[in-house]
Symmetry: C2
Subunit: 237 residues, 2 copies
DNA sequence: GCGCAAATAATCGTATACAATTTGATCGCC
DNA sequence: GGCGATCAAATTGTATACGATTATTTGCGC
């Protein structure tokens, strides 16, 4: 995330308690796909990795399980979430349900400086698309999500913002699991079109574009049920 | 919650780990208003109360803070959340944003047995309204929320269901703080009207009624900013 | 009597220790 | 050689202990 986006998206105080730092670090790793779905996150390993005790590692993993990014199984341990096709559909259904509303709210309150900010985000995004390398790909994934999160931030409803953060992060997991094309961003500049519609005060069109945008992302997924998924999962590890 | 509602709303496995039991117990106490906003929840006290160590008490409080029902202040402790007027507005804005969508989804998938279930819920609710006593009041509060939660459950989207659980619980806190009339349920049987509209397959009307219903609840609040709120809070303790 | 400072008490933040459960392996038996 | 039971290793669940931070009270000076 670039610092400009950071300014709009972060609302927390500077002093984070240890567990939160670890939680954020692991979350970033999951969202940027450095950690694959199903990966085991043992409390000891996490603790050693960050040089803290199991207490903090456990707290971080618990927090991530509330966000749906990690699934903790009683007496078995924590794993990077492995969302089922049905779960994936629910995530995108939720996004289709709430993002139009967020968009309308955001469009009603948006300032010219915030529009500029969005445009700057798009510029950064397209620059990353043209770049090569794993680092650029990861940054692109994050930037793509930041567009939606920034809209939520502009809407001014911190509750919906937090909910969108969860949905965007989980979407990243779903795309990592079921995405077909190498990169989810379509050839069309759909984010840019949405900003243009907002700028033109054409809310209906903006919502329409948003719904299509979400549909496009979902269309790139292969959500067919794997037969014996539980078994396959074990083999793939 | 009666056992019938329980059958539709609960999705968890029977064996809960200790912290979850404590979390649920405290959440119920908050939602049923046995715990007032601002009440201090010290880790030691909670632990002693449930005969567990601070570790579990802390985990439960952390979980509740993720749900927005408890606010933990670094090095100061945990308190039953004391939502600001602005926060209250955001909670209801979020409900206006998502409940129509949930309602449409639920109406599309609802079965006759689920409609019967809803009607039974309404019956129970009206019975509680006519009854006297604190116990009945608490049950009524819960029943009123269960109507919205049951709709979310019927919608089939567990993610939206969980989000609604959070919003309904936080709404209870807001009403406890800012509600003016002794009881939030209006004279009109608004829940019943919504079910009727669903039954008649008149979705637009059902959504319209839902929005009005939420607006009515919000209209009963006095969300004017209290001057010196922080001080007042201290005195009220 | 009032205000300020230092000591005291209470509470949280984190680490470590022990108990319980699960997983994997070794050994014996069929 | 295959199968089952028992045992060992690893991991989680929970409790306790200690250090750090904050709130309170006490005592002194004015």
């Amino acid at each position: 995330m670039n610092s400009a986006a950071n300014a709009l998206l972060t609302t927390e105080e500077p002093t984070e308690t240890g567990a939160q730092q670890i939680r954020d670090a692991i979350r970033d790793a999951i969202v940027e796909r450095r950690l694959s779905p199903g990966t085991k996150l043992s409390e000891s390993d996490v603790g050693n990795l960050f040089n803290v005790s199991r207490t903090l590692a456990r707290a971080a993993l618990q927090a991530l399980s509330y966000e749906g990014l990690v699934s903790v199984e009683k007496n078995r341990g924590a794993f990077v979430a492995y969302p089922s096709p049905d779960e994936a559909r629910q995530i995108f259904a939720a996004r289709r349900l709430i993002e139009p509303g967020i968009l309308r709210e955001a469009a009603a309150r948006i300032t010219t400086s915030e529009i500029q900010h969005l445009r700057q985000l798009l510029l950064e995004e397209s620059r990353l698309i043209s770049e090569r390398g794993q680092t650029a790909r990861r940054a692109e994934i994050k930037a793509s999500g930041d567009f939606h999160l920034t809209l939520a931030a502009i809407s001014g409803n911190t509750i919906m913002q937090r909910f969108m953060e969860e949905l965007v992060a989980r979407s990243s997991l779903v795309i990592a699991l079921y995405g077909q094309s190498t990169i989810s961003s379509c050839g069309h500049n759909e984010h840019g079109d949405i900003v243009s519609a907002i700028e033109a005060k054409d809310l209906d069109r903006a919502c329409h574009l948003m719904l299509h945008h979400i549909a496009h992302i979902e269309a790139d997924l292969d959500l067919r049920e794997r037969k014996g998924q539980g078994l396959k999962e074990a083999f793939d590890l």
